[in-house]
Symmetry: C2
């Protein structure tokens, strides 16, 4: 029987501890929020959820924790084409890169993995002598449901 796709909870905590980062109550809370999220969360949403678990947590602590995770390459930052304002969204850095498709009409976010993209990265590393650390692919358009329905001009 195959194991579920989800990774062990607490992996962010373990990862940071193994790198000698101090673990506080607030950090554990914020990390668990990020880790158990089923969708892409922005800083305000992370704060709101963290406060349900520990009401004293401050905005600033959330921002500092996100920065910490970014510096350690444990989360990726997305803006999903700024379909709703200037916020940034965060997700666990995945085992394997994926692309994000955002429907400019209904706002739905789709994710997509592709061998072609892996080959493209290989081509870049070879042809440009560029050592890739992070990738971010955001594609805007109409999802299957919304295509054909309208010629809505939403700012992308």
């Amino acid at each position: 029987m195959p194991l579920p796709q989800t990774e062990a909870p607490g992996r962010l905590v373990a990862e940071l501890l193994s790198r000698g980062v101090r673990m506080t109550r607030q950090r554990r809370t914020i990390l668990s929020v990020i880790e158990t999220a089923s969708q892409h969360l922005d800083a305000a949403q992370i704060l709101r959820r963290a406060r349900k678990l520990d009401p004293g947590i401050d905005r600033v602590t959330v921002y500092r924790t996100i920065r910490l995770l970014k510096r350690h390459g444990l989360v990726d930052e997305l803006d999903l084409l700024h379909l709703e304002g200037e916020k940034h969204y965060y997700e666990r850095h995945p085992q394997r890169d994926h692309l994000h498709m955002a429907c400019v009409r209904c706002g739905k976010i789709l994710e997509f993995e592709s061998d072609l993209f892996e080959r493209l990265k290989g081509q870049i590393q070879r042809d440009c002598q560029f050592h890739i650390l992070v990738t971010r692919v955001e594609i805007g358009g109409y999802c299957a449901k919304c295509r054909g329905n309208s010629t809505d001009l939403r700012s992308v």
Copy 2:
């Protein structure tokens, strides 16, 4: 003898006029700044250059013009992985999509076109039934010069 790669100047003006958009002195100035830029400019840089040509131009007009161009799909917005703050950069929407590679050490931006990427887009449209309007690919890492030089941890 092949023509140079650059497109006819004034094409943004022509494009907007053909869509029934009013053309003001300020807009012409801002459009010419964007059109003749050899690098990716942020809003503040666009404003500074526009003011050299027409000192009265206001910040707000620059933002409104950028929004107009985005709505018409005539410019693409990039953030180049926020290597320097939260600004956005703008470039003419190209004939053919290209990827942006940002060196996290020296900040250099490379552009790259690839048939593989065109095939990837085809795959997405087919497999996901997703109608692509814009793409945005930003890749962070070390450029040829900087790779091997350091293990600098810059926030990406």
